[in-house]
Amino acid sequence: MIAVGSGEALRLAERGDADAVLAHSPRAEEEFMAAGHGESRRPVMFNDFVIVGPEADGAAIRGLSDAAAALARIAAAGAPFISRGDDSGTHARERLLWGAAGIDPAGSWYLEAGQGMGAALMMASEKQAYTLSDRGTYLSLCDRLELSVLVEGDPALRNQYSVIVVRGAANADGARAFAAWITSPAAQQLIGEFGLERFGRPLFIPNAERR
């Protein structure tokens, strides 16, 4: 079991270095399946992305319901924004949102960190910058961050996770068993309860299709 960004995970799988992948980058996953690298792909759970930023909110995006409009304001204000810049699922979503805003982000305000979500959030907090984060990583770190959730709830921020069994997996039985387990009622219940105790709300909503 290794934890990497969705882009890296799918590339590992493409080369046969992984048997099963849990990813959250729908477009990249569809390409992966279309190219015939995957044997099956099933939804597992979802949570959402949030735009977080400094309490002072210099770009005045707090409470906006349109994520792309919020990014447009950040760009117009030239407020610092940390991008993952690592082809992860979060980075893919961020680029999608910039596309929706009709903006090609560039300039000294746009920092491409090339690191994981935790490191990008720490950097945003240090620099009092905005960033796009999955809610789970933000919640798990928010005690140590000087950042608030400013924009949430836009359907464009929904974050769907799927499990993919790789075609020709070295351990095909194990991969299929993992996919069957994580979509089973028992595992789905575990997912729905995960984080409830610590954060007062679950970090993921299970949504595997019942078969």
């Binding site: 890296e8 810049g85 690592d86 920092l111 491409e112 090339g114 690191q115």
Partner: protein, 238 residues
Amino acid sequence: MDLFLDALRQALRLLLSGDPYLWRIIARSLQVSGGAVLLGLLAGIPLGTWLGLARFPGRGLAVALVNTGLALPPVVVGLFVYILLSRQGPLGALGWLYTPSAMITAQFVLAAPYVAAITLAAVGSVPPQLRLQARALGASRWQALLLHLREARLALMAAVAAGFGAVISEVGAVMLVGGNVQGETRVITTAIMLETRRGRFATAIAFGLILLTIAFAANAFITRVQQAQPRRRRPLTS
């Protein structure tokens, strides 16, 4: 093997095409590690010279500490510099975190012990009679000391090469305190990590080739210096 050869061919093409993304990062690496070694020289040569020539109680411990500095884990140095420079840290007001200044600071801490340790060994290996004779011939204390350092100059150049070779290839400290920001704090080693993770092997290998070339040049230089030493001329007095 095909993957590797393909990537290698693409890497060579990238290097020859003068890709600006590549060369900017290489330049930043040279700037950060070069700056760190330069500062390391300023601190390490006086410290090493002093420890090499002075005799005082506790000198053994001080020498051991300097030699331990050679084995400082870069990621731990990065951690301490990060805490020092973070917004709530004692030097947070400088605003250096995630800038090349932070990276130079961390690599300075790593490079200085190299310079000090090699200087220490080098001044120790110059026969002490040299200074005595120079003094007898009317040189001042400082002139005698400079003559001493001049005799050790090859070893000092090796110290530069060793320190540079060590810091330019470390990734832990620069990743933590620099943050791998494109166009600002991305250096060769952090770029290799990112490009490998993105599956862009050709770019990663291009950076790897550059890093290997630098490391090879540094070590070839050290080897030459070491082989030159046994041929050094006899002491001035017999």
